[in-house]
Structure formats: structure tokens, C-alpha cells
Symmetry: D2
Subunit: 373 residues, 4 copies
């Protein structure tokens, strides 16, 4: 595509899952071309991964620092970098590119600890360089529909938020069996203080703030490690008090056998309720006090402008996870081209997410004592 932006990538080499997702998301709408990368933490894998992607040899880097400098120096340097490493690398990688003046698209959670998160926020603020956090579920048209409806007051004053993210893949000790994904996601030195709460709980938390625009004021959390020997939590039960008197419950688990990535968000206000499930991502259940439940469909007659703007194909033909992710990349392109993309998650959302994880960990250590946020 003419004017496709040039994208670099840090992390996401062979064997990674999320790197490939970012690349598909970047390509779908034609706004990005992947041209450079420091794709793995060893030079050999970085090279092999770069070649597999067909990158020009001089744009396959063995470390992100070199890449940031080299790309900044090129006339045809990258327009942005995607950082898709394990969490503990996010900060230093983002720093390198921001300092080189290169916009950053960063996977979540923002960093592996709160100090890094705050420092990164300062860096972003002082640099004036674009920074996008890929809380990808915010790209789902029906999630945006929910936000639009809540903002407009369709549900009235919000009373209840019940959100859950249910997986089963860590029901056993995969990290001891050499599973790469399980390895870093259960390793405090790479993931930070949160296990399930960081990996998927932050997504659930972000869905709450994105759709309701509510602040979480305090929380009480129980984190559990069900699998023996596991070093981070694999389950979280969190009670949240939100601004304006809204009460919430957040569940995040990785030990429910037979559940893949079940996300459910249910929100009730004085006038109505909405409910969304990832497994039926193209529809939103909406019920008004005294009315029949309705099914708002992505391409249907009662979906609003926000949903339509985040949607590609007619209703009934399902869009999925990659399309939602692609919407973030498309809006990142808009942003970097100087346009407006008000729904894109920011470094501030990332800081909130890391603080949320740390507050959950602290609360859980004190048997659920309330933590202010």
C-alpha cells in the first residue's frame, strides 16, 4: 500500500506466539510493512527469525539498542517499533526507541514493575513521541459499542461490573516441562510480580476501565498458586470499588481445564445491562429495565458509529481476535501520521495496569487487605 508505514519489531522471533499476532494485525489493513527487527534474544535466533520474515540483512539486528540507533540514523528508518518481548524487557527496549525518537507500540503489561512503569510514563511524556499499548480486546467492535453506550448513559448510573478471564492451559506444571510460553509467563524475573493477574487479569482490568471510564479506587485481592512449585499466581479473585459507587468483581484463572480464553464482561446500571463474551465476540447482549434482551450485532442496525468504524465486513461474517488487534495497528498508523486516535490505549493505561497488579499482589499478601489505587 502506498504510504504504508515501516515497522520494526523487538522480540517475536521463532517460537513466540504474540509476535506473529502483531505482524498479522499490522498487515491486515495494509497500513504497515515490517522491515526491521531484533527478533530474539540470541544473535543466532534473531538472524534466523529475521531471514524467515524476509527482512533485508542489514535490518536484522541482534539487539534492540543497535537497532534503535541504526534505524534512527537511516533515511528510510522505521516509523514505529513493536515491542513484543517478555515483560521485563519492555522498559529498556521502549526507552531505547523513545530516546531515538521512534514511536513505540508495546505489548502489555507495560513493564514488569511499577517503578519501570512510572519511569516509562515520564519518558513518554517528556519525549513527546507516540506510544501505544496493545490492550487488544479494546479493539473489538462490540467492546467499543459497550463503551459508547455507557458513555451515552444507555445503562444509567453504573452499579455492577463482573468481569472474568478464564483459561485452563496452566492447569499443570508446563513450565517444568519446557513449555516456552509457560516458562516466561510464570517466571517472576521475566513477568514481574503477577502471574495470571498480570498476564490476563490486566486485560480484564483494562476492559473495565476502557468500557466504563471508571477509576478503580481500591481493591481486595486473593491470588492463588494451585500448581505446586509454580512461582507466580495462576488464579485471582479480586473485589474492586470503582468511582461513583460502582462495585466490581474480577476473576482471572489459568487452571480451569477445558476453558480456552473465555472472557465475559457484564455491566449493570440503573437502566440496563450489557454482556459480552469473547466466544460470541460479534454480538452484545443489551437489556433495558422492562424490555426484552436485545442482541446488538457488529454489523447490525443497532450498532453505533464507533463499532462501525472498527469493523470491516458485513454482519454475520464473524470478525475475530486478529481484526480487533488490527484495529489498534490501524489507529496507531493514524496517530503516527498525525491524526487522532482517542480510543487507543496509552502509557497511562499501562501504568494503571501495573499498579493494579502490584496492588493485587500486596493485598493478597495481607490476606485481602484493601489497597488504594
Amino acid at each position: 500500500m502506498a504510504g504504508a508505514l515501516k515497522l520494526g519489531m523487538v522480540g517475536g522471533g521463532q517460537g513466540a506466539f504474540i509476535g506473529a499476532v502483531h505482524r498479522m494485525a499490522a498487515r491486515l489493513d495494509g497500513h504497515w510493512e515490517i522491515v526491521a527487527g531484533a527478533l530474539a534474544s540470541t544473535p543466532e535466533r534473531a538472524l534466523a527469525s529475521g531471514e524467515e520474515l524476509g527482512l533485508a540483512p542489514d535490518r536484522i539486528y541482534s539487539d534492540f539498542a543497535t537497532m534503535a540507533q541504526a534505524e534512527a540514523a537511516r533515511e528510510d528508518g522505521i516509523d514505529a517499533v513493536s515491542i513484543v518481548t517478555p515483560n521485563h524487557v519492555h522498559f529498556s527496549a521502549a526507552q531505547a526507541f523513545l530516546e531515538a525518537g521512534i514511536p513505540v507500540i508495546c505489548d502489555k503489561p507495560l513493564t514488569s514493575n511499577g517503578a519501570d512503569a512510572s519511569a516509562l510514563q515520564s519518558l513518554v511524556d517528556s519525549s513527546g513521541t507516540a506510544f501505544v499499548l496493545t490492550h487488544n480486546y479494546t479493539g473489538y467492535p462490540m467492546i467499543r459499542q459497550a463503551r459508547e453506550m455507557i458513555e451515552r448513559g444507555d445503562l444509567g448510573a453504573l452499579r455492577l461490573i463482573h468481569v472474568e478471564y478464564i483459561q485452563g492451559w496452566l492447569s499443570e506444571d508446563l513450565e517444568s516441562e519446557g513449555d516456552k510460553q509457560a516458562g516466561w509467563r510464570t517466571d517472576p524475573s521475566r513477568s514481574g510480580a503477577g502471574g495470571a493477574i498480570g498476564d490476563i487479569g490486566t486485560h480484564a482490568f483494562n476492559l473495565v476501565s476502557f468500557t466504563t471510564q471508571k477509576q478503580v479506587e481500591r481493591l481486595s485481592a486473593q491470588l492463588h498458586r494451585f500448581v505446586e512449585g509454580r512461582r507466580l499466581d495462576d488464579n485471582a479473585h479480586v473485589i474492586l470499588d470503582c468511582s461513583g459507587g460502582t462495585k466490581a468483581v474480577l476473576l482471572a484463572t489459568q487452571v480451569a481445564p477445558g476453558y480456552e480464553n473465555e472472557i465475559r464482561l457484564r455491566i449493570s446500571g440503573t437502566k440496563g445491562s450489557i454482556e459480552w463474551n469473547q466466544s460470541t465476540a460479534n454480538t452484545l447482549r443489551f437489556s433495558l429495565l422492562g424490555g426484552a434482551p436485545q442482541t446488538i450485532t457488529r454489523g447490525g442496525p443497532t450498532a453505533g458509529a464507533t463499532a462501525a468504524a472498527s469493523s470491516r465486513i458485513p454482519g454475520g461474517h464473524p470478525e475475530g481476535y486478529l481484526e480487533a488487534f488490527a484495529t489498534l495497528y490501524t489507529e496507531a498508523a493514524t496517530l503516527i501520521r498525525g491524526g487522532s486516535a482517542p480510543l487507543l490505549p496509552t502509557v497511562k493505561d499501562g501504568v494503571d495496569g501495573v499498579k493494579f497488579v502490584e496492588a493485587c499482589v500486596a493485598s493478597s499478601k495481607e490476606d485481602g487487605a484493601w489497597q488504594q489505587l
Copy 2:
């Protein structure tokens, strides 16, 4: 039906909801004939209600005390009485019949406070008279299937229990508008200390103990009153620690507009998970680690003996709420005829339920402080 047992009823006159349910449940399988009643709290309504049911004039009573004595004295006196009044009457009515040697079938919650509950338990224990608590959801074949599977170890060691009971009918201040059901259910003098937590939270709590046979050891509860002026909670978020390290979350709400009686129970163990929803009551989702989710159907090839014994018609033809309720009445008949009915909820379950409500209220008053059970 030959040998149909004779049933009396206290409460459940004109305008009541649950009395009619009990009568349909009692009739369905042909084991009961309703022959006597003190159906309302005023003599006029008691008379009118009794006539409407076609009771013999001399068996329409204006108060339960008279009824207990009179029926005990008759040669053809009732074989059992159903108590379906507001909660605060349960204790004294049950006492009257137990003391007269008449078996009692009592609606839940057992009583409106813990002292009454304990006293009633003592009474039942010392009297040796049969006592059944109608925690009707335990009659669902698929709930019994869940219990059987958990007992057999199909799920392995239990880790997680997520249960919720979601209603919307009290989203507004119906009690001020003269709604009879809303009136007594939100009135502490008739319902006891619990609103939503007593009315529907106890059902959810009972489903947990029934299916898992776990004890709740301690809990942390948040009760809310969202509707201004309401005197009891209309929402509850409860964290529970169960015996054996199982962790649970219980949600009970009456202020989610557009939800009727959504009950969902999801339980995960080391080996598998089950999930049940009242809206699809005839099926049970079952997934094993490493296997595809299966749908166990009430009449299908993988449902067990317990489910079959609680079921009337072939699979695919839905049984519902009344059939589940009727199973309790049928088993009560078995019990009173001298047989065994090990799955029937007992006075002990009732005591546990009342203690649960009081623990939730106490915890909530102290901002979620843990309460031992």
C-alpha cells in the same frame, strides 16, 4: 394415587408465589394430596384461599397452631406440612408441627436468624420427626450429576468454584410501590438480616455445598444496597475459602436489569471442569484436561444413575424448575414412608445457610473482614 400422602400447607395463599409452586411440585409425581391449610395470615384470606383450593371446610385453619393440634388429633390427619410463609414465621410454625409429631417440609432460608435456626435444629434432632428443607435447585438432575461426578473424583481435587445468581427484578424500589413479594423480601422483620444474600445467595451457597460436599471455612463479603431507601442488601459479592484449599466466589444480585433467574455454577479441579446454567438446565458442560468439552444431557448416554433417578422423560424434552422441585417432594414422600432419601436437604443445611447469611452480614459490616464459619 393409592397411598398418596396427605399434605397440609402453612402460608401460600392468594397472591403468594412460592405456595403455588410447592403445590404443583407436590402433585406432579402423584405422591401427595393437599388436604389442609392455614394459608394466610388473616382469617379471611386463609378461608378464601382454602376454598379456592377446594379444601374441606373443617381443614381450613386460620392459624398454624390450631392446625397442628387439630391435624395431629385426626385419624386422617396430614402426613406432613409444607411451610411456605415469609422467613420469620418458619421457626414457630415448624415448632408447632414438630411438637405435634407432624413431619415438616420447609421453604428456605430455614429461619430469619441464627438463634432460631439452631433452636430448630435441636427441635428436629430431639423430635426425631422428618424435616426437609426445599433447596429446590438440588433437585435438578444435572446438579445431581455434578455431585455424583465430583464425589467420584471426575474433576480431581477441586480448586475453584464460581457461582452466581443474577436477577434484575429489584432494580427499582418496588417495595414502595406495593409489590407484595418485594415487600416482605426487603423487610428485615420478615426476611431476617439478609436481602439478596438470604433470598438467592443461600441458594447459590447451598448449590456449592450440595455439589461439592465442601465446608466453607471462612468468608469475606460485600453486601450492597443500590436502591435508595432499601432496607436490606440487593447485591452480594462473597469470597469463600472452602475445606481442602478450594477457593470460591459467590455473586448474588437482584439489580441487573434484564436478568431473570440466571444461575451459573462452574467448578474446576485438577482433572476437569463442569459448568451448569439454569437457562440450559438439562445439560451439563464437562471438560477434562486435554479433552474436548462434552455436553452431558439429562437423558443422554453419559448421564449417571443419580440423574436418571431424578428424571421423568426422555432427553431433549426439557424438564424444568417444577420437576426439580417435585423431586424433593417425591423424596420427602419416600422419607416419610420410611425410605431413604440421602440427597434431600436437611435442617443442617438450613442452619448452615442462616449462618452463612449472618456471616456475610457481619463481614460486610466490617468492610469485608474474614468471618469463620
Copy 3:
């Protein structure tokens, strides 16, 4: 219940399925008491079955003819008889009771052939005695809701009707393995000319006429016998032209492994569509041109008067197959007491059903040639 009507039963003894269903349906709402029966085709089983039901010895009959005469002669004789035998007995049994002046409640299909059906219709008409055909699915509140909406014009002029009834239980040759149900249902001498088309196809056909009040003008049918050695069809594909230009397709199968009793009815008109599934019997999908699909729930705010009048308990608490069946028995009581029950299936519906089966058989024999109805 005072004034409960007295019911006799022909057929439905030990080992039968549908007899027990009729008895539960008769009991549920308290309008019927079962007092007499000729429950089986051999005197021994008739006696054993009657004793099991607790019938008085003098009201256990070994044949229906004796029963009709004896009951007609008693002062406390039955108010109606339920005929729940295999199809080929319907006619003669109904004749016996009608001639004795006793109202008849008869299972479907009306008779095992069209000549009997017409003769029975004449008998009913000339006798002036009440006759009810238990097309039980018409008792579902949401089916009645559909009828009400269509009658009111909510869907506009009807264009399309797609109905299907899918079972799998006859996927194998159960009739050769001694299965009693399979035995008579696949035996032309007891079932008549139709297998699946008579057993379940007539239900689907009746749902179409009940909800739309359309006449089927002609049809083209393909009947199949997939199981080797089977004597009647186990699958039917039927194309129907209805009055007013409405086009329909009816599928009935008993050889789809893993399907229990899946009934789906979808109707579209110029303005909207409705869809109902037995597996979610308490809801009706309703979509208007240009609107979001809505879920009408049995007890919900958008269900109409007809549904409410056929419903017992609040929404969200599922009613099922037996409740729908019970509604027919309650309305039969109304009818026999002299009231009006306009929704009850009549002998005319039964004649239509038998003609439908015979037209399907004739069409199929001629490779789908159109048959006028």
C-alpha cells in the same frame, strides 16, 4: 383439589412412556384425578399397572369396551378418558367412549389411517362430546406467543416456514433388539403408514398450522428408510406450499446420532422473523426488519397475554415439556366444565395430521410428485 375431574386412561401401563407423561400432565395443575384404567392390552399387565397406580380394584379394566360401559354407568364415572395406546387402537377406543358419552383426550396421531380419521371426526361431530388431541407442543408458552404475534401481524405477510424435528434414537435397528417403543413405532400395523413422518413429522406439521393458521395446499415428500430392514420411514424431507403463497420445508428425522428431540421452528414474513427451539423452550427469538434481534422470554416484559395464561412460574425458572403438556390437560378441564379453550387441538387437527402423513407417503411413492391436501 375440590372439583378435580375424574380421569380414566386407556393404555399407558408398565413400560409405556407416554402414559406416564399424560398422568404427570394431568396432575400438575390439580384439575384431574386418575381413577380408572384399561392400562394394557393383556389382563395381567392391565391389573398390575392399575394396582401400581393405586386404582380401586373395580375400576381396573382389562379392556376399554368394558371400561367405557362401566364408567358410563357409574354415578361417579370418569369425566374424561385419555387414550394413550399405539395409534391403531385410537379409533376403536375413542369410538367406545364417545358412544358412551364420555369426553376423550387422545394422543396423536389421531388414527393409523385416513379412513379411521374421517370416521372419528364424524363421530365426534355427531356425538357433541368433547374431544381433545394432545399435540402437546402447542402448549408451550412461546409457541402460543408465536401464534399470537403472527395473528396480530407482527411478522407481516408470511413468506417462509422452516420446521424440523431431529432425533437420533432410531439410528440403529432397535426394533429387532426388542425395544418396545421402537417396536410399535416402526410397525405399520400399529403405527399406520408413517414412521418418522407420523411419529414426529405430524408434530412439526401441527406446529406450522398452529402458529401460522395456514393451510397446507400441496406437498412434495421424500421418505427414507435408512436402517436396513426397517418397515417404515425413519426420515422425511417435505416441501410444502401453504395458503397465501407461504413456502415451507419440513424435516423429520430419527437417524441423526446425538440429537435427542431437537425441534426448531423458524418463520419469516415481510416485516420480521421468529425462531423457537425446544432446547431453549422458554425464549423466542424475534427480529424485525431493521431492528436488533430480541429475546422474548416466557415471563418477561414483552411476552403477551396468551403466553402468560399458559405459564406458571416467573421467568428465568424454566418450564418444560410437562408443563406444556399440562396446559392441554388444564384447558381440557376447562372445556369439559363448559368453558372455552380455543387453542386446544381438535379432531380436525388430527384429521389434517393423518391426511398429511398419507399425502407424504403417496408423494414419496411417486418420487416426490405433488399431492394436494
Copy 4:
């Protein structure tokens, strides 16, 4: 991506729907770069559309003939062309590129009439140039799973196929209101003899042949035009006899208000059944005789190799319509690079589809007379 293939496009300019779909599908997996196009039927719109896509000025063509010659002559000419025009242009456009030795990816139906279809097949066969027909639903992992299971015999010998494709968007006369999509799809000169049967019925037909590998031997069809003034059918009811005694019913409608693109495929054999719905595209219902229904999920433990090879992301994260479409483009790249892509729809499938449409039209004209295929 290194070695991304160069794609040209005919049709799919501004205002088209399917062109944008093809472009997203081509981009998703990184195997294609769009470099040339004759995107619209007028030079002005062709130019504007090409510029919007960022094509180089010398590769924006005003007609496909010029494009085919020019691209064939370039050293960096396109590796394939996508033809996404209305149906009547497919033949001549495909001819131009095939004769220029350029592989063709063509939207369905193959052509607007059977003569063209046969001629095109001859052309493809004689040219030896790659030709892919984008029957995109065959790209769904769960559809491929179905095919794999049927081929392996999981369902036993097939008895029944019920397929339907239900839309509502043509419930009114949109073609008279200037709707571009409705315009050409209801215009015989551009669509050919089939309306709904060609537009969506061919997809349903293709799903049957793809999953079962059965031949349709004869059919009886009823095509209807419900909207007054419409020139092509907007509804089709088709009975099909397949090879090996399998019996099928195919429904395709565009006049069911409130239905978007509901596709359901249910297949039963002697041993088991499968069912797939586009609205839950990531799962496949599978039931064996005597077993509980199972849910095979796209990324789950019981999905097979074929599904995995057509899938990008872990289970639970839904893939949708575009991903299925992209799989065809990825396999087309494999094919053009000299590899094997045995699941890709071919010109033969296209010929079968056109013959199917013409047979339906012919049968319907004779009131459903059987047509051999």
C-alpha cells in the same frame, strides 16, 4: 515479507465489498503484495480506486485486457490476478489473464452461465495455469475438520446432509433504491440465472461437496421471488440426492428479516453427526452414537492436523471470516510457488456450482421436476 508474491486485481474498486475482503485476505499472512489493478469498470473510478490503494500510476489500468498484456510483458509483472467483478465479467477477465499465462484467483460463482463455465474449464485445463476459486468458507478450520473426519469415517456412511444459508438483507426491494450490491446481485445480465441460489446457494452447495466429497446426482428445486418486481430468486428450497444414497436438503434465503449470514451445516452418518454454524465458527459439534455431544474447538485438543494447519492463533481467541479467506490466499501462494494445496477449490468446483444453479433454475421452472447433474 521477502518473496511476497505480487497480486493484481480486477474489480473491487470503491464501493465494492468483496474486493476489500480479498485484499485483507491476501495481506493477512504476508504472502501477497497488491501492485496492480483494473479496479472498476470506468476509467475514472479505476484511477481513483488505484490511487486510493497506492498503486504505482503505471500499474493502474482502465481495463483488464490492457492489464493482462502489460503485466505479462513486465519483468516484475504480477504473479496472479484476483478477479472480483460481478459474475458476468469473470469469464472474459479470466480468459485474458490465463491466455497471458497469469494465474487466476476468481471469486465465485465461476461464471454467469454454464457455457462460459465449461469454456473456462477447458481454458484452464489447456493453459496449465493455476486457477483458484474463492469458495472462502472452505477455509474455515472447522469445515476442514469436518471434511477430515468424514473422510476418515468418523461419521460412518453418510445418510443426511442439511445445509442452510440464511440472510435477510434483500427482504425489501433494495435494488430499486439504488443499493449497488443489491443492484447487480439481482440483475440477470450481471449475476446470471441465479439470485439467492447463485449468490449464497452455491456456497452452501460447495460446503456439501467440500466436506463430504459426495457428488450430487439429481435435485429438485423450488426457487421463489418474494419481493415484487425482483428479477431473480431470493429464496431456494432444494432437495438433493447424493452419491451413495445420501439425502440432502439445501435452503438459501435472502428474505428472512433479522438474519445476517447464518450458515448451518449438519451431517449425519451411521455412526455420528457433526454440526457447524458460522456464528460459532471456531467450534464443531460432534456426536457419536451412544456418546455425549462434544465440542471440537479450533485450537483444542481434539482438532486434527488439517484444522491446525489452517489456523493461526490459540483456541478461545476467535478467528473469523477473513482468516478463512486468507487461508485460501496463503494456499494459492503455495500453489503458485509450485507447492501442493489439495484443499483449494478449483475450476471444477466452479463448473459444478454453475451447473447446480442452472439445474435448480430448470427444476424450478418445471415445478420441481428432478434434474440430473
